[in-house]
């Protein structure tokens, strides 16, 4: 049966009219779906019993429960949600003082094949619907406390652009979760057409997985470099007016002896010149069979200082949930393999 959860206001209104219900039923349904603590159509009590029965004969509410939760000693939780063909997606909830960030997946598996990524080893299994994306926020116990959302879980968001944009609409609309887009960051490896559409149609922040400023190195880490070279990604970003509120950041996993040298700092300064941005340095959590190693703590700190000294705001992302298969894709791959 088709789910109501994940539909936009326009879609809900259209289906209400199709069923012969008043137009305002669409708005009523949206509020029940995205703003209240109910789990069934029968609990939508401002709809008549007859109309609820009519809706229930065609649709289901559509929340999907997680099948597994792991909690780290640092409070990070990882939820596993079932999707198609016995596969799973991961969602992380990362508490940090007053802030509670949820890291959502946008695809089942991934097509991008980055050398350092566990999710890529599953191959691509399918797209998540907007409902399945938003379900990862709505259907965790902390959903009322969520302050920030990052699309940095499994999959490449801009390879599932339509559903990702729809999920953003649900999250940021008054009739939906009514979250500020400034509390949402969508991360991409640089699918340029999707990135441009996202910049046009959403106001959420953008994060770009860079990992090295050099083409030949990036090509070996990230096959996408062949189709969408970093230079093209940077050129598009440079041509965009981000205004005062919107942020662009670059994600940079620091690998030992690969991308952690002063030469990399120099090149980063060169290619990012003119972009008001931040670099997030990320510690590498090794995955099985990887030829890559994370850089040591001293080099990481030095790298950060060099970038900050050059005027590029650079931070080191705190590693969280390391005791619960923190690297994205590890838990779901383990579950998939039984």
């Amino acid at each position: 049966m088709e789910a109501l959860f994940g539909k936009t206001l326009n879609e809900l209104t259209a289906l209400a009219l199709e069923l012969g219900l008043p137009k305002f039923t669409g708005k009523q349904m949206a509020e029940w779906l995205y703003q209240k603590d109910i789990r069934s159509i029968d609990e939508m009590t401002n709809l008549s019993k007859k109309n609820r029965e009519l809706l229930s004969s065609k649709y289901e509410f559509g929340l999907v429960d997680s099948t597994k939760v792991q909690e780290s000693i640092d409070g990070t939780k990882k939820y596993l949600f079932p999707t198609v063909k016995g596969k799973f997606v991961e969602t992380a909830m990362i508490p940090d003082d007053e802030r509670k960030t949820v890291c959502v997946s946008s695809q089942v598996g991934c097509k991008m094949g980055c050398l350092f990524c566990m999710t890529g080893k599953q191959g691509f299994q399918g797209q998540l619907t907007a409902g399945e994306i938003v379900n990862q926020i709505r259907n965790i116990p902390e959903w009322h406390e969520v302050t920030n959302i990052v699309y940095m879980g499994m999959g490449e968001p801009f390879d599932n652009l339509e559903e990702v944009l729809k999920s953003l609409e649900i999250l940021t609309s008054e009739w939906g979760f009514a979250m500020s887009p400034r509390r949402i960051t969508v991360s991409t490896i640089g699918i340029v057409p999707g990135m441009v559409t996202f910049l046009n149609q959403s106001e959420a922040h953008l994060a770009v997985s860079m990992h090295t400023p050099f083409d030949d190195e990036r090509q070996r880490l990230m096959p996408v470099q062949v189709a969408y070279p970093l230079a093209e990604v940077i050129r598009e970003i440079k041509s965009w007016d981000f205004g005062r509120q919107r942020r662009v950041s670059f994600e940079y996993i620091v690998f030992k002896g690969l991308n952690d040298s002063p030469r990399h700092v120099q090149e980063l300064c060169k290619i990012l010149n003119g972009i008001k941005c931040r670099i997030n340095l990320i510690r590498f959590h090794p995955i099985p069979g990887t030829p890559l190693e994370g850089t040591d703590e001293n080099t990481l700190q030095r790298f950060k200082e060099l970038l900050n000294d050059k005027g590029i705001l650079t931070t080191i992302r705190a590693s969280r949930g390391q005791d619960i298969y923190a690297a994205c894709g590890l838990l779901s791959t383990k579950e998939m393999l039984g």
Partner: protein
């Protein structure tokens, strides 16, 4: 800097070209060609669309850099936006393409080219451009009729052209997937380059296998169809 409204109208660098050929070289697999308007390096890609409102898709060039035409090879995806329409183009029709670009390039160093399905396109381009002398091509498909350009490759590359077929058998093919073929080799040369092209899972599996067999990851270059 452009504001959002101006940016929406930013033109994509597409030029109109005229189709000269559309061959269905295997069931649901087409090779379309147009007169070459730009030079390219074998291994490069072009973006193609039929309609400026539809975002272009990326295809590897599948012709030699001395050929008069540029060709691309593609599978028709039933639910695809572009390929069903592209498969129906006839000579004389116009399509929109970008200049060739990309960095999936081979040099003089010995290399193994490993492809599945239409992932053979960049390697066929390299072969047609005369850079196959010290290369070995391993092509994996499901059915025997998917060994595109087989006669030409067999004649020119001989034993350096290895065919793996996972669902049918014949006397000159390895029975199984390319990963199985590689697994069964006693030794893999470690001082050559490996070029991989195909779907994500094949590329990731082959790359992992090569790395586990001692190939430095720096020697592996991949292009993924997505």
């Amino acid at each position: 800097m452009p504001k959002a409204e101006e940016y929406k109208n930013k033109p994509i660098e597409l030029s109109e070209v005229t189709i000269t050929q559309n061959q269905e070289i295997s069931p649901e697999v087409h090779l379309i060609s147009w007169k070459r308007t730009h030079d390219f390096v074998p291994g490069q890609v072009v973006k193609i669309t039929l309609d400026p409102a539809v975002p272009p898709r990326i295809y590897s060039v599948c012709s030699g850099n001395d050929d008069q035409e540029i060709s691309v090879l593609f599978n028709v995806k039933e639910d695809g936006i572009l390929t069903p329409r592209l498969s129906a183009v006839i000579p004389g029709m116009k399509i929109l393409v970008t200049k060739p670009y990309g960095s999936f390039k081979d040099g003089k160093k010995p290399a193994w080219w490993i492809a599945t399905g239409t992932g053979i396109a960049p390697f066929y381009s390299m072969f047609r451009s005369g850079i196959s002398e010290n290369k070995t091509l391993i092509h994996g498909v499901r059915h025997l009729n998917q060994f595109y350009f087989e006669d030409e490759l067999e004649w020119a590359m001989g034993a350096r052209y290895i065919r793996c077929c996972s669902q049918e058998q014949s006397c000159n093919t390895f029975p199984g997937r390319v990963t199985k073929y590689l697994e069964e080799l006693n030794e893999l040369p470690t001082n050559i380059n490996y070029y991989l092209c195909g779907k994500a899972l094949m590329v990731v599996e082959v790359r992992d296998l090569l790395i586990s067999r001692g190939i430095p990851y720096e020697n592996i270059l991949a292009e993924i169809y997505f």
